[in-house]
Amino acid sequence: MKLRVKYSGQLRTATRCGEEDVGWSPDRTLAELIAHLAERHAAGRPHLLSDSGAIRPSLLIAINDAAVMANEANATRLRDGDVVWLLPPIAGG
């Protein structure tokens, strides 16, 4: 199955792409997806994961425009065609 992943803020800069398709399997979770993306885009890792490998609690996450909390990622499964949007905080003023 295939997911669409969108990146905002500094994550967009770090990954050098606004969005991309990612091949995935239905038995794998959102937390595993984020860990996979952190590996795929090393420069984006600090915006996704803490040094201990936990998802940053301030990372805004949406699946098909519904908000998902970081602490729900382990229990969140993904479906073919899902759009996962990752937005690290920004504060430019």
Binding site: R56, S58, D65, I90, A91, G93
Partner: protein, 258 residues
């Protein structure tokens, strides 16, 4: 806000100045009087907050409290539209006061030559009806959020990075607060960020419109929603937000009945 009568009456010059916005449906003279009665605190008057202050002054807010420490630098001038080249080396807030008074002498302006922190947030927010949060550091934004939630004051949080802007309106007790969104300051955020004025001004203008709607009582604010726009490949979207039940800031604040 209560309509206190005489003080908020519009004189002939004000009716003429605001004539074109008095035509806005659901706003009208009652809305204009509410703006005249209102005090808005704008935290930092850079590219985002400066434009928000400019729009609020043009719209006829009764009083603006502008908080921003430090002196103007040459490399502020690509985006800080309340500043002028001859003001380099002088306090930013004084340039802002001068520019805003030139635009609209009806607006009372108080300048605070300091940034918001835990020490002054409650005092400054306590004197305002609404806060526009536009500081480049999360510590400042979270300090304002904490005080605004405790005091029950609406807070419009507006931010940008690169060609992206984000905006939400915190209504204490009704919507998620900033600490729900950002329970810890992101360690990799830098105070200096890529910015065109065309982007920061867009965010600031949107924030001013949120403030005007909340204060005048019309339209729908961005409550429990985050507006995200990207002008690189132009797109405006809203993302629903959720309160964090264990939020240390707004968790204890009562929730409205379902």
């Amino acid at each position: 806000m209560e309509d206190t009568g005489q003080r908020s009456e519009l004189d002939a010059a004000e009716r003429n100045r605001y004539e074109w916005q008095l035509w806005v449906p659901d706003f009208g003279e009652a809305g204009q009087r509410r703006l005249k009665e209102a005090t808005v605190l704008v935290s930092r008057i850079g590219g985002v907050g400066g434009t928000a202050a400019l729009q609020l002054a043009a719209a006829g807010i009764g009083k603006l409290i502008l908080a921003h420490g430090g002196e103007l630098r040459l490399n502020d001038l690509n985006r800080q539209l309340l500043m002028t080249t001859d003001w380099i080396g002088k306090p930013r807030v004084e340039s802002a006061r001068r520019r805003l008074r030139e635009l609209n002498p009806h607006v009372e302006i108080e300048t605070i030559e300091a940034n918001i922190d835990e020490g002054n947030a409650a005092d400054l927010i306590g004197r305002a009806d609404l806060v526009v949060s536009a500081a480049p550091l999360f510590a400042e934004r979270l300090a304002m959020n904490r005080a605004a939630v405790q005091l029950g004051k609406p807070l419009v949080d507006c931010a940008m990075y690169d060609l992206e802007g984000r905006l939400t309106t915190v209504l204490p007790g009704r919507t998620p607060c900033l600490a729900c969104l950002y329970p810890e300051p992101p360690p990799h955020w830098k105070r200096e960020f890529p910015v065109f004025s065309a982007v920061s001004s867009t965010v600031g203008s949107l924030a001013a419109m949120e403030a005007i709607k909340v204060l005048a009582g019309f339209g729908e604010p961005l409550a429990s929603r985050l507006l995200v726009f990207d002008l690189r490949n132009p797109c405006f979207e809203t993302l629903p937000l959720r309160r964090r039940p264990d939020c240390p800031v707004c968790g204890p604040i009562s929730r409205p009945a379902p």
